[in-house]
């Protein structure tokens, strides 16, 4: 019996980051978890709401948390920005300050539904790197990514702020561990949590471009064939603003590939950068991409 887990796709996973959506669901399914999208979810407000008003910062995510209750014990949030905000909201409410109590009461009265602190917000990277899952993955790998050199990129939101971090905030390791388990080689680089400028990607592209190119250059210098991320904004920004043809994978795509999920080939087709050269590094010769 597959275990049910709540699933919050946020706005990007149904649009620009479809491959992240598909690969996350497919991988979890292969590992015995059934992702159930929560009903009538709304934008979490990650990129802009907090600028519009303090109350909105937590109010929008709280509505989602309330909607998620009853779907599953955990609420899986693949987008790093959504995750950071939803999880921060969960923690904020758990601490139960006067401000939190007021917000909760307001949202509850608008929705006519209570918040019971029943849902635990989790990120797929956190789930997949728990020891039980890791050994499950280990057993199921049919397509080890031997020969592939990867630069794990956590970005700025996935493990920050510290109060919500499921990994070391300055030197996160979990993606490294997961990718190594898949058989890939993980390069040592210093830019794991350096900002890619994704937040300015649309409003001020000229500020983001040098940040992106620095990251790609450094990943190349470290010997990587590709960058691996867990954030739709980073992925789009990193693939879209560089001129160096370095593909940027979602880590879930690579897990799916290593598990030999047949649909994995389709995901790579939607990348902006051709992934075939990088994937050709895998010993035994996988091929993907456009």
């Amino acid at each position: 019996m597959a275990e049910r887990i709540g699933y919050y796709p946020g706005c990007s996973l149904h649009t620009s980051a479809r491959e992240y959506d598909l690969s996350s669901r497919a991988v979890l399914k292969a590992l015995g978890m059934d992702c159930c999208e929560i009903p009538d979810w709304n934008c979490c407000g990650a990129s802009s709401a907090h600028a519009a008003g303090h109350a909105l910062t937590y109010a929008l995510p709280l509505r989602n948390l309330i909607m998620a209750e009853g779907v599953g014990e955990d609420l899986l949030v693949p987008c790093a920005a959504c995750y950071s905000l939803l999880r921060s909201t969960e923690v904020f409410l758990a601490i139960n300050s006067g401000e939190a109590r007021k917000l909760q009461a307001d949202v509850e009265s608008v929705m006519g539904k209570a918040y019971n602190q029943k849902v635990k917000v989790v990120h797929p990277l956190d789930i997949l790197t728990r020891s039980r899952m890791l050994s499950k993955i280990k057993d199921k790998i049919s397509n080890p990514l031997k020969g592939l050199k990867l630069a794990p990129y956590y970005g700025c939101l996935l493990v920050r702020p510290e109060i919500i971090a499921f990994d070391n905030t300055e030197q996160p390791q979990k993606m490294d561990i997961l990718l190594r388990e898949l058989g890939a080689e993980v390069v040592r680089w210093s830019y794991k949590t350096e900002c890619c400028g994704g937040g300015l990607g649309i409003t001020q592209g000229s500020a983001a471009a040098p940040l992106v190119n620095r990251l790609v250059t450094e990943a190349k210098k470290a010997g990587a064939n590709a960058i691996v991320t867990a954030c739709p904004l980073c992925q789009a920004n990193l693939e879209g603003r560089q001129s160096q043809e370095m593909p940027v994978f979602y880590f879930t795509e690579l897990v799916g590939l290593a598990l030999g999920l047949p649909e994995s080939k389709k995901w790579f087709a939607s990348h902006l950068v051709d992934t075939s050269e990088a994937l050709a590094q895998v010993e035994g010769g996988l091929s993907g991409g456009r």
Binding site: E162, N168, T169, E170, Q171, V187, R188, W189, S190, Y191, E218, K221, A222, G223
Partner: protein, 1477 residues
């Protein structure tokens, strides 16, 4: 009791012991020395830390009143002050401290290498080790963690970690010996064991388990010949055991399989006469007649059995018990019998056709094949069964010519009972496996088998997990073949036990599973007959237990014994594991394999075995391979030592457990632990040390190349609110400065840069030290570092920082993190055990006015346990704690220390020299290089030598006793020991002379180890020549030795204390508490000194109130004689007895005292005139501000005495200028002003929260916990602006005060108009200090403060004996610091005052008046100012004062001075002996 063996613990212990108390020094480390031992150099003196520490450690060790307890911790503290009962738990060292000579032989042979914590894991040490080369006590110990899972899991108890460790060093022979202790069939089990150990190996958490079984095979394959040569295979018993009548004790074993033989070996090794009876023609059981040869070659079996028979075990082959001999007969013959016949029969099935010809049983088929009988196989053969025997059968059939082998089993592929690898190999060889089938019937044509009809097996086990197959009778398959072999299980044949009284139940012999005794007296059983079919290793395991029971039975002991299994340890904590795949052995190709019975698995090559063994994580640390036991010629090693608990009765307790350093990982952004070239300061300290991992070469970890650019990042884990500690760690600025300077001394190409926030060089001479660093090429950058990045190609590190408005990225080759100080690991536990309180940071809580006292009476603290501090502060603190304990126990002084009584000294003046020479082999340390017998013969023939003898260890207790006996028997009157060094061993031998009634100075040592065998390893012959030279020289000198005697000089138990400030008063009070009289001389009319200028203590409490209390106590103490308005005009005499003239007005008074304590303090410096003090009423000093604030506080508190009511609240803008006495440069740091200034700025701001307070500063030096003031001030909104000497923030006077402020941190310029400007004055030495220095003949530093003997270890001592120093006369300090230094000075003084008399003489300089020309050379060169031109106009050297350094002897132009024991005559004799023969 003193807890902690660091510098604090040693200082407290020495002061107490010298003050007449018995001290128990308890440390959880194996050596004393503490953190200082890890340091390379000390600041600001750049001296070798170990060289300073060495003598201190030696003094501690050799002090008769200090008992050192190493590896010990506090269990319980009962009782109360003056009478504590302390439980001390001592962990075993496993090496006898009395016997160990630190020869290092054990370390040489120990195969286990683990990370060396002392070297911060940057190199490896052995499991048997010394903490560091100069460890004190200089004894080895063994590091054990417990039972590793491999060893604990092995049914035979085979010591896996032990032999794996030996293999890692390529020592296959020794490894084999270790294997065979638990597993006599190393080569066999190495091939066929199912190795449950590998399943438990901790390494699999990281990659894959160690290939344990294959390593065992390697030990047997490559170690057999070596072990055989070294006679390690056959361990003949020490005695042959007999019964009371002298008859041999005989044991009969039925069955020569692995169980029977293993038991035979155990029993034969103990000394029993063992006979093994077997039905087959040869021994081995299933080993020989069951397991196919391609898995287990016959010669391996043969030689391992033979090694057992070689013990004298008798084999009776071809003897079937029950047929050839009856059990009763055997019971007659043997005192005990072991039944180990195993499961020899194959099981059959009750199905149709089973009786047909061509149907065989697997076990019998294999036995026939193994014995070379070539059992018949068809071209096509069917095997039924899914276990290992079935697989063996199938593969054997292939080899015997069956072209098509079909194996049918009930189970599905993944759940076959056979090992996965066996199945795979069979398939490779072409065996076709059909899973999920059970035989329905065997088909035949007449009597001959034709095939098998199978039915589908639906389920093998039922719901209860029992074997209970269910079939689908309708799904069948028929296979035709000419041969069918059933391998579905084995059975035993126990018919010989029928009627014997031995109980048999369902094929097995029931036994007590602990003792393996059957129900019949004297009959035991083991192996498969007890357990059902199992493995070789299980059989051997049960055989060990049965053999031990038989031994117990025959010795009349209780058979029952503890069955407690030790807990298995996991991976050592914090172990860094580098992923490395397990080695793979070669297999013969399948096409080759089926041709014959050649061995399939090729095993490891020796190189592979070593590589594989190196993967072992050494989970147990010590592997108990027992190589050390063999190597130790002193038999000093006891692996079964257990922890012990002792109870001590003590009057007072001093806790000085030291500190820990913060982890470099606290600040992840610096990449420590990720980037190899980022290290902590303590690691760097080891890198600089000559005893460190690189012998002092500065190379970076990633590529071992010398770095050029090295960055130091300060405040890692200090002065931070979220990661690490809020306080300042006090020492890092200085140690980084030192490390930077020393780096450049090691390698002038290094360019160090120190990134810091504030330079906290607040201690004595620290600013000068930083200045010298700057002059020597150390770059200081004041900036916070936000992250360190690594260049993945070069491994260089990129540091980004802001300089001015610019962001700079600079590349370095090495980054050193200045990690801060945190409380010791055991702090919480210690607080719990002792019941003392900790402060908010987890350090011991103390009151600043009583700085060593904890919250529990009778328990004191010293050193860094109280808070971060450097070495001199620690020493002061430790002496202070000693003084506090002494005060408490004043009445008990000298009661527990009993002087030793020696025999009367023999007068040898009329005797001719009769020299005895004792030469040490030092294990193999000397003897393996120097020809010791030859040297001894040589010594025997030297002129004057009447006795020469060599010893394995001259320093061992029995040898020392022997020397004493020889002295008396032969009437020797001069002794030479040729061994190691006088530094450590001279006291021992001198003591022996005294005990033998000889004067201790009639002794000489020749160092033929450190100075000969150790340094001339490559040239043994010439080393022997040199050893003879050294012995000859020693003999030449000792013949001219004459007895020297120490003379007692009485001590006057009183002190002169100069200066009536807080330090002087505290000194007097502390002396009085201990019962000593003091004369307190104060120039001013009132006591109190600089305290008159202090209104708030560093803790914010009222300082004036405290001052008045102290003055009151001093004045009312009858033991303190106060002389105010007085000065010293003359001081004469020596330690123990000084005579001083005190001038009070016109009166002159002469007083006599044993010691002098200088506590003259200092005074406030004038503010720089640029700040306009006195020109404007708005400009005041910090003292004036404090006085006003104090008054206001008293008004607010409603104190009626206070009438002064000037309001301070009407200011709008206030500014405080720190370092206001200084000009362009700071002469020295006055230490207290930052804290005093900021705390008053806080008070000011509290008075008027709307006002703005500016603090204008150079550096903020709120060190230690004082940092809290700085933080609080910033949080309150007090504005800090940094200026430098080039731009003093001088005010423009006028209607408004106007100061142009240029803040160096923000680079902002702005104007302020304070209506209150406060100047923080500096602090300088008291006027007249220089004159007093001349009078006392003690030196001053360039700032005019008194100079102590040694900046680190002698902060309260003057070079001249009997003179001590404390308080601000030493350097500026807080009240609490002055208090503990004063207490400390008393502890130092008491080491003299506590003695009724001082022993004087011995090795001192003696002037010959007739030769002296009174040229003053000696007076000038003596570092201790001892020689004087006396009344006779010739040089006089007071033996009480002389340190025996010999400087004057060398300089005296008239050769009028001789150093006793090193006279010209003695030295010349020694030197001329170099050339002579």
């Amino acid at each position: 009791m003193v807890l902690g063996g660091g510098i604090a613990g040693m200082q407290s212990a020495l002061d107490l012991a010298n003050g007449g108390y018995l001290v128990h020094l308890v440390t959880d480390e194996p050596s004393i020395g503490g953190k200082m031992a890890q340091l390379d150099k000390t600041f600001p003196t750049n001296e070798c830390a170990m060289c300073l520490l060495g003598p201190k450690m030696s003094d501690t060790l050799s002090h008769p009143n200090i008992k050192i307890h190493t590896c010990a911790s506090l269990g319980k503290v009962d009782g109360e002050t003056g009478n504590f009962r302390v439980t001390v738990n001592k962990a075993p060292r496993y090496v006898d401290m009395n016997e160990c000579t630190a020869c290092g032989d054990c370390e040489q042979v120990c195969p286990v290498k683990v990370e060396d914590k002392f070297n911060e894991d940057m190199r490896q040490r052995k499991a048997v080790y010394k903490l560091f080369p100069q460890a004190v006590p200089n004894k080895y110990l063994i590091d054990k963690r417990g039972m590793p899972p491999c060893r604990g899991t092995c049914p035979a108890g085979c010591n896996v970690q032990g032999y794996v460790a030996l293999i890692s060093e390529g020592r296959f022979g020794d490894a084999l010996e270790v294997v065979r202790r638990g597993m006599p069939f190393a080569g066999i089990c190495g091939r066929i064991c199912h190795h449950p150990c590998e399943g438990e190996c901790n390494r699999q958490d990281f990659d894959q388990p160690i290939a344990i079984a294959l390593l065992k095979r390697s030990a047997a394959d490559y170690g057999w010949d070596e072990a055989s040569e070294k006679d390690l295979l056959v361990k003949k018993p020490e005695t042959i055991l007999t019964d009371i009548n002298g008859n041999l004790l005989k044991v009969g074993i039925i069955g020569a399989g692995p169980g029977g033989l293993a038991a035979a070996k155990d029993l034969a090794e103990i000394g029993y006469k063992v006979t093994v009876i077997d039905a087959l023609p040869e021994a081995g059981g299933m080993l020989r007649a069951g397991i196919p040869r391609y898995r287990l070659p016959g010669e391996i079996v043969y030689r391992e059995i033979q090694a057992i028979l070689n013990l004298g075990v008798e084999l009776r082959p071809n003897t079937l018990v029950g047929v050839d001999v009856s059990l009763d007969q055997l019971r007659q013959e043997f005192s005990a019998i072991l039944v180990a016949v195993g499961f020899q029969k194959g099981r059959s099935l009750p199905i149709p056709g089973i009786e047909l010809k061509g149907v065989q049983l697997g076990v019998e088929f294999l036995r026939a094949a193994a014995l070379g009988e070539k059992p018949p196989v068809g071209k096509k053969t069917i095997i039924i069964g899914g276990g290992n025997v079935a697989i063996d059968t199938a593969r054997t059939a292939r080899r015997l010519g069956a072209e098509e082998v079909h194996l049918f089993c009930l189970e599905q592929h993944g759940s076959m009972p056979a090992h996965r690898w066996e199945v795979e190999e069979a398939e490779e060889e072409g065996v076709i496996i059909h899973t999920g089938w059970g035989p329905k019937e065997i088909l035949g044509k007449g009597e001959i088998v034709e095939g098998v009809k199978f039915k589908r097996c639906k389920q093998v086990f039922d719901d209860q997990g029992r074997f209970n197959p269910t079939y689908d009778e309708y799904e069948t398959e028929t296979v035709f073949a000419g041969n069918v072999i059933l391998s579905i299980g084995q059975a035993s044949d126990l018919t010989f036990l029928d009627g014997s009284g031995v109980e048999v139940s369902r094929d097995i012999v029931p036994v007590n599973r602990l003792t393996y005794a059957t129900n019949a007296q004297g009959i035991f059983a083991c192996g498969d007959v007890v357990s059902g079919p199992a493995s070789v290793v299980d059989a051997v395991g049960s055989a060990h237990a049965a053999a031990e029971s038989i031994h117990r039975y025959l010795q009349g002991m209780d058979l029952e014994r503890s069955s407690e299994k030790p807990e298995l340890v996991d991976t050592p904590e914090g172990l860094k594991v580098v992923v490395k795949d397990r080695q793979q052995q070669d297999l013969l190709h399948a096409s080759e394999r089926v041709k014959d019975f050649r061995e399939v698995c090729q095993g490891f090559t020796p190189e592979q075995a070593v590589e594989e063994a190196k993967r072992c994580l050494n989970c147990g640390i010590c592997s108990e391979c027992l190589q050390c036991v063999k190597a130790c010629k002193k038999n000093a090693i006891f692996h079964d030592a257990i922890p012990e608990s002792i109870e001590l009765n003590v009057g007072a307790i001093i806790l000085s457990p030291g500190y820990e350093v913060q982890s470099g990982e606290l600040r992840g952004e610096y990449g420590y632990g990720i980037y190899p070239n980022v290290m902590t300061s303590l690691e760097y300290e080891r890198l600089l040390s000559s005893t460190g991992p690189t012998q002092g070469h500065v190379v970076r970890p990633s590529d071992h190349k010398a770095p050029r650019k090295v960055a130091f990042i300060q405040c890692v884990g200090s002065r931070t609110c979220d990661k690490g500690a809020e306080y300042c760690s006090s020492i890092c600025c200085m140690y980084s400065t030192k490390e930077a300077i020393i780096s450049r001394e090691h390698d002038a190409n290094i360019e160090p840069t120190i990134f810091y926030l504030d330079m906290r060089s607040y201690g004595k001479n620290f600013d000068k030290y930083v200045k010298s660093a700057k002059n020597n090429g150390v770059r200081y950058m004041r900036t916070m570092i936000s992250s360190v990045k690594e260049d993945p190609v070069t491994g260089n590190l990129i540091i980004k920082y802001i300089q001015g408005q610019e962001i700079i990225e600079e590349e370095f080759e090495l980054v050193v993190l200045a990690v801060g100080v945190k409380p010791p690991k055991a702090a919480r536990e210690l607080a719990q055990v002792t019941g003392i309180e900790l402060n908010e940071y987890g350090f011991a809580y103390t009151d600043p006015l009583n700085p060593t006292k904890t919250s529990r009476p009778g328990i004191f603290v010293a050193g860094a346990f109280q808070g971060p501090r450097d070495i001199p502060e620690t020493v002061m603190n430790a002496s202070a704690a000693a003084a506090a304990a002494e005060s408490l126990l004043a009445t008990g002084r000298n009661q527990l220390v009993t002087p030793k009584v020696y025999p009367r000294e023999r007068d040898v003046s009329s005797e001719e020299p009769k020299v005895g020479v004792f030469i040490c082999r030092c294990g193999i340390n000397i003897a393996s290089i120097v020809d010791v017998p030859d040297t001894t013969d040589y010594a025997r023939n030297l002129n004057g030598v009447v006795h020469a003898e060599e010893f394995l260890y001259t320093c061992s207790q029995d040898t020392v006793k022997h020397i004493k006996d020889v002295i008396n028997e032969q009437g020797l009157n001069r002794i030479v020991v040729a061994s190691c060094t006088i530094r450590t061993h001279q006291p021992l031998f001198r003591e022996a002379l005294r005990e033998a009634g000889l004067n201790q100075f009639l002794f000489e040592m020749a160092n033929i180890r450190d100075q000969c065998s150790w340094v001339h390893r490559a040239e043994p012959q010439r080393a022997t020549v040199k050893a003879k030279d050294l012995v000859r020289m020693a003999v030449a000198k000792v013949k001219r030795h004459s007895p020297l005697h120490m003379e007692p000089v009485p001590v006057i138990p009183a002190a002169l204390v100069i200066g009536g400030g807080i330090a002087g008063m505290t000194a007097c009070l502390t002396l009085a508490e201990q019962g000593f009289k003091s004369y307190l001389v104060e120039r001013e009319p009132v006591l109190g000194g600089s305290l008159h200028n202090l209104y708030f203590g560093e803790d914010g409490k009222d300082a004036q109130e405290h001052m008045l209390q102290v003055i009151e106590r001093v004045q009312s103490d009858p033991l303190i004689q106060i002389h105010t308005n007085s000065e010293i005009t003359d001081l004469a005499g020596h330690q123990g007895h000084f005579t001083t003239t005190i001038k009070s007005g016109d009166l002159h008074l002469e007083v006599h005292h044993g010691v002098v304590i200088v506590a003259t303090g200092g005074k406030l410096a004038e503010p720089n005139p640029a700040y306009g003090l006195g020109k404007d009423s708005r400009i005041i000093t910090l003292i004036q501000l404090e006085e006003k604030l104090h008054t206001m506080q008293q008004v607010q508190n409603g104190d009626p005495l206070s009438v002064y009511q000037e309001s301070l609240a009407d200011w709008r803008e206030a500014a405080l200028i720190l370092c206001a006495s200084a000009g362009k440069e700071l002469p020295h740091c006055s230490r207290t002003c930052c804290t005093q200034g900021i705390s008053n700025a806080i008070r000011l701001k509290q008075q008027n929260q709307d006002g703005t307070v500016y603090v204008l500063h150079r550096d903020i030096r709120t060190y230690g916990f004082l940092e809290a003031y700085y933080r609080m001030a910033r949080e309150m909104g007090i504005m800090f602006a940094r200026y430098d000497g080039e731009n003093l923030p001088a005010p423009e006077l006028g209607e408004k005060l106007s100061i142009k402020v240029k803040d160096l941190d923000s680079e902002l310029e702005f104007n302020i108009n304070p209506d209150l400007l406060v100047l923080a004055q500096g602090f300088e030495p008291a006027s007249g200090a220089r004159e007093l220095g001349t009078l006392l003949k003690v030196p001053l530093n360039e700032d005019g403060f008194f100079m102590e003997t040694h900046a680190k270890l002698g902060p309260m001592d003057f070079p001249g004996s009997g003179l001590f120093l404390c308080g601000a006369a030493h350097s500026p300090k807080f009240v609490s610091e002055a208090i503990y230094q004063a207490q400390g000075a008393v502890a130092r003084a008491v080491t003299i005052l506590a003695k009724p008399h001082l022993m004087v003489g011995g090795i001192v300089a003696k002037a010959e008046p007739e030769k002296c020309a009174a040229c003053l050379t000696c007076v000038r060169v003596c570092p201790y100012s001892v020689p004087k031109i006396g009344a006779n106009r010739v040089a006089e050297i007071e033996p009480v004062q002389c340190h025996g350094c010999g400087t004057c002897v060398g300089e005296c132009p008239a050769k009028a001075i001789q150093l006793q024991h090193y006279t010209d005559e003695q030295m010349l004799a020694k030197i001329s002996a170099v050339g002579g023969v």
